[in-house]
Amino acid sequence: MTSATPAVTSRESVLSRTAQAPGFNWRRFLGRIPLHLALLLLVVIWITPTVGLFISSFRPREDIMTSGWWTVLKNPLDFTKFTLENYDAVINNPNYDMGRAFRNSLAIAIPGTFFPLLFASSAAYAFSWMEFRGRNTLFVILVGMLVVPLQLTFIPVLRLFNNLGFTNNPYVPFLSIWVAHTAYGLPYAIYLLRNYMGSLPREIFESAYLDGCSHPTAFLRLALPLSVPAIASLVIFQFLWVWNDLLVALIYVGGGRNAPLTYALSGLVNSLGQDWHLLTAAAFVSMALPLVVFLSLQRYFVRGILAGSIKG
């Protein structure tokens, strides 16, 4: 990782230099065994619950109820012990209908990510590179909403949505929750993007303005492209937040045909109770997309989010 850029003195290279003593350094190797054991133990503890859920979701009902999932590890290649029936049931059986819930979650999460990012990035630009009266006060008010418990807003907002005809709108069934997620996602997005955009080199912007560059152009051509790491990380964060949200969906969508995955799953927790073969499969259906997003975009995601949050 760091060996490719020898100009940068990283700590890793310091460590490896000390390791290059003549011959194999037994003392160092033995001294590091507790380090490896401690880290390995933590990693195993962290991953075991998820592995258990994953394995169980492929086991027949009778097996799950009578033996621990770890018993299959004795001969993991015995595929006769595994089945896809649980997934078939939770996705296709209309009683569980996780397939529809999956589509609903997509229909909620995609606009619920796009709009807050759009509005937050323009606001963050204004807070970073425009000067106007009450700038700091306004910023503090907006970002201060970050600590407002969402429950504090539900009753008045629900009343507002009812008056506007947003609730159960026949043409745009998800309108309420789109608007809600857009507003609720703004404080954090503004906060993060303002920190990121505000820390971009001001010489770039100053020289652009001197050259007659307007705010819209500077926003679209400079601020947005330069903020891609922060925006990308926010896209992932906001998408996962909306996808994983239960509370807001509970209030603005409720059950029925439009319920997203989290709502459907929490319903199954109550109704199925001990039917672990279905619960584990349903839980994994709800987790699959976030896991894919996280695993495939992880490096980029972590780098971006840190650039935004640590610099602040």
């Binding site: 003195t9 700590r11 310091v14 590091r32 401690a38 880290l39 933590l42 990693v43 991953i47 075991t48 258990g52 859920l53 799950i64 009578t66 033996s67 621990g68 770890w70 509005f119 323009s122 606001a123 204004a126 590179w129 425009m130 000067e131 106007f132 909403m145 970050l146 600590v147 418990p149 429950q151 504090l152 807003t153 009753i155 008045p156 907002v157 507002l160 507003a183 609720y184 404080p187 505000g198 303005y209 705010h215 994983n244 949200d245 239960l246 509370l247 995955l261 989290t262 799953l265 927790v269 672990w276 584990t280 839980a283 896991l291 996280f294 992880q298 490096r299 840190l306 640590i310 602040g312």
Partner: protein, 489 residues
């Protein structure tokens, strides 16, 4: 600041965000503050009554206590473990893999995490006949594997040691006979093909062996007599006991004390009932006797200690009862082999369940702390650390005298973030216990007041305001940090 000045541009750039936030957050928050001084329908001003409820009602006091517990345990757990893992992972080659695994829970929903951990905490009620190791939740399985219950072959060994002519092979044979007979019947009835039957018969002895050693009986629907395996085993044991000369019950009782204790219990219990009916024993004393009967009878079988106190009806006959025991039953065997380690109901047992929920939170949020701290760790100049090493500092001194002070600003940020998280904690509690069993927290209480039947909007609003007030100090701190950064630019 010497950037462009204009009047319209800020309005356009900020318009949508400001409009949405004022309509959906600022105004509703203020409206909710107003509602906190109104009655439950928001129609009549009632002063501070809602705050009186929010601060003094028992459920809210429980919530305050639990949130305080969360604040201490959750925050120190996430920040401490995050720092530990970041530091450890920084020194190994598989750093990114290790960190990805720790961070993974951040990607999934609290509902999903709730299902995952409910499964980890799963409890099978104890006492299922001769299936002692059948916990399917990891935590209880680990707990019981530390001191496993006895197995059927343990019972056989104990009987054999005392002189009952019985071996594992004989018991296995009895089970195999029952199963084989039923399999052959199934072949005749064309429920099984010959080939299937032969396959089953082939693996049968192995499965029976596992069963004796404490494994759950194999759940293959083609087995025909699974339910009869325990009975067949006990029948074989009783057959061996029957070959002893009459009056040899003591031998059985030394191996399986509960076989005799249960006999004493039933005879003495009946005699106590009769004595109460006849008026020779007070009902109160009878209850005392019955309460201690189990312990007393087991103790008598084991050591011959006669129970103290008046009122025992059949004490003279207890030796005869013991001598006359000529069979055991499943429950007696099971009870005797029980080593006394009970699986734990992690989600319902008070004093444990709050920690069980906090662990779920720590599992989710440690990854966040780790990633932030790890990045800060890598930002520490290598020269600084090397200089400390050259000056003779050992690894611990480097950590506490160089790394920790350098990390202090980041540690503060991470800790405040966890404070805010913990004050708002809701989903985990809602999904796993719904605030029952003594696990109530402020945010869940607020939700329940609002939507949990009574629609106490006044109560809910007051609770929300109190929650806000708890968060304000952290908010002020954040603003100070922001101003400081602004000054540096």
């Amino acid at each position: 600041m010497n950037v462009q000045r204009s009047n319209w541009a800020p309005a356009v750039f900020l318009g949508p965000a400001v409009f949405l936030l004022f309509m959906l957050m600022v105004y509703p928050a203020l409206e909710t503050i107003r509602l906190s001084f109104m009655d439950r329908l928001g129609e009549r001003y009632i002063g501070l009554a809602n705050y009186d409820y929010a601060l003094t009602s028992p459920r809210m006091q429980e919530a305050f206590r639990n949130n305080l517990l969360w604040l201490v345990v959750f925050t120190s757990g996430t920040v401490g473990l995050g720092l530990l893992i970041a530091t450890l992972a920084d020194r190994v080659r598989y750093e990114s893999l290790a960190k990805a695994i720790i961070f993974m829970p951040m990607a999934i929903s609290f509902v999903g995490a709730g299902v995952i951990w409910k499964f980890v905490y799963d409890l099978r009620a104890p006492g299922t006949p001769l299936q002692p190791n059948n916990q399917i939740g990891v935590l209880n399985a680990v707990l019981l594997s530390i001191r496993p219950d006895g197995t059927l072959s343990d019972a056989i060994a104990m009987l054999n040691t005392e002189g009952v002519p019985i071996t594992d092979e004989e018991v296995m044979q009895a089970i195999i006979e029952v199963e084989t007979a039923r399999i052959e019947e199934a072949v005749d009835g064309e429920d099984l093909t010959r080939a299937e039957a032969d396959e089953l018969l082939d693996i049968l002895p192995g499965r029976v062996r596992e069963y004796l050693d404490g494994q759950t009986p194999p759940r293959d629907e083609r087995w025909q007599a699974l339910g009869q395996w325990p009975r067949a085993a006990i029948a074989a044991i009783n057959e061996a006991i029957a070959t002893l000369p009459p009056g040899s019950g003591r031998i059985v009782c030394n191996a399986i004390p509960h076989a005799c204790a249960m006999q004493i219990e039933s005879i003495e219990g009946r005699a106590i009932d009769e004595a109460v009916a006849a008026g020779t024993l007070s009902a109160e004393r009878a209850r005392e006797l019955r309460d201690s009967l189990r312990a007393v009878s087991v103790e008598y079988v084991r050591s011959g200690t006669r129970p103290a106190g008046e009122g025992w009806q059949t004490l003279d006959q207890w030796d005869d009862i013991i001598a006359g025991v000529n069979e055991v039953n499943i429950r007696a065997v099971n009870t005797t082999l029980d080593t006394g380690v009970e699986p734990i109901d992690w989600i319902r047992r008070q004093g444990i369940n709050n920690f069980a929920l906090i662990i779920v939170g720590v599992w989710i949020w440690t990854g966040f702390c780790m990633v932030v701290l790890s990045a800060a760790l890598k930002g520490i100049p290598a020269e600084l650390i090397e200089a400390a090493r050259v000056d003779g500092a050992n690894e611990f001194q480097v950590f506490f005298k160089v790394i920790i002070p350098m990390l202090m600003p980041t540690l503060t940020v991470v800790t405040t973030t966890m404070f805010i998280t913990v004050l708002k904690v809701f989903d985990i509690v809602y999904v796993m216990t719904a605030g029952n069993f003594g696990t109530e927290v402020i945010a869940n209480r607020m939700y329940l007041e609002m939507y949990g039947g009574n629609r106490e909007f006044g109560h809910a609003s007051a609770i929300a305001v109190i929650l806000m007030l708890a968060i304000v100090p952290i908010m002020i701190y954040n603003i100070v940090q922001f101003r400081r950064q602004e000054a540096r630019r």
